[in-house]
């Protein structure tokens, strides 16, 4: 069930987000003069913010996982599988 709901959310996002962008941008972009530099570099910086944010979160999560779940962590305790010795 969760997989179905998750897939539905993903598909909805894939369909809805581009549509919203299209609707919002359609009115003000018809052949107007614009500065390519501003548009292209602006896009670049926005995407770099996303890329570095994702990179920070992912690497931060990995560092936290490695430190938190190392065997030598005082808070570490064996999983139920390890305790019972079978899984």
């Amino acid at each position: 069930m969760k997989v179905i709901i998750g897939s539905g959310v993903v598909l909805a996002l894939l369909a809805i987000l581009p549509s919203i962008q299209y609707v919002l941008a359609a009115g003000d972009s018809t052949g107007e003069y614009l500065d390519r530099r501003v548009e292209i570099w602006g896009l670049f910086y926005r995407l770099m913010i996303v890329a570095f944010t994702v990179g920070t979160v992912v690497s931060g999560l990995i560092v936290w996982l490695v430190l938190r779940f190392r065997e030598s962590n005082p808070k570490a305790k064996p999983t139920s599988y390890e305790e019972s010795g079978s899984w």
């Binding site: 969760k2 998750g6 959310v9 993903v10 996002l13 894939l14 987000l17 581009p18 919203i20 962008q21 299209y22 941008a25 972009s29 018809t30 052949g31 107007e32 003069y33 614009l34 500065d35 390519r36 530099r37 548009e39 292209i40 570099w41 602006g42 896009l43 926005r46 995407l47 996303v50 944010t53 994702v54 999560l61 999983t79 139920s80 599988y81 019972s84 079978s86 899984w87």
Partner: protein, 151 residues
């Protein structure tokens, strides 16, 4: 013990993972939509844009204005006007690049590619080939001269 906890290997809630996946997917959607949208906007040429035919060949650039004026290695444009370029090549693949104005388009033999821009700063700017095209590729350069209106 197999399948203990109705298929959950970890034995704990998996919602954080799903939130994490959702956030990443949403960010990817944002990246895709934003890039697509900007590309769409900058490809939309103003109606009054003047046509300039650009032809690359080893190792120089030739420009032809709408009125038939030809220039080699130099391109004179008027500040504040829009120009659309039809870019092609005589021999091998080149790439027409005006770095200061973020203009970049491949020049391919037998094919016409389009790009447009509107210079908003007067002065001299470099034109260069951005695709390795042979021995003297490094020196396949030109000069863009943007002049104030009426200059």
């Amino acid at each position: 013990m197999r399948n203990q906890g109705r298929g959950k290997m970890s034995g704990h809630s998996t919602w954080p993972e799903w939130v994490y996946v959702g956030v990443v997917v949403a960010l990817l959607c944002y990246v895709g939509a934003e890039a697509w949208n900007i590309e769409r906007i900058i490809e939309h040429v103003p109606e009054d844009a003047e046509l300039i035919k650009v032809e690359g060949q080893q190792w120089l650039w030739t420009f032809e204005h709408e009125d038939g004026t030809k220039e080699i290695g130099e391109l004179h444009l008027e500040k504040g006007k829009a120009y659309r370029f039809e870019v092609t090549s005589k021999d091998v693949i080149h790439s027409f690049n005006i770095h200061d104005y973020t203009v970049l388009m491949d020049a391919v033999p037998g094919r016409i590619n389009h790009v447009w821009f509107s210079p908003n700063v007067a002065g001299e700017f470099d034109i260069q080939c951005r695709e390795y095209c042979g021995l003297i590729h490094y020196n396949m350069r030109g000069t863009l001269i943007v002049e104030d209106k009426g200059a």
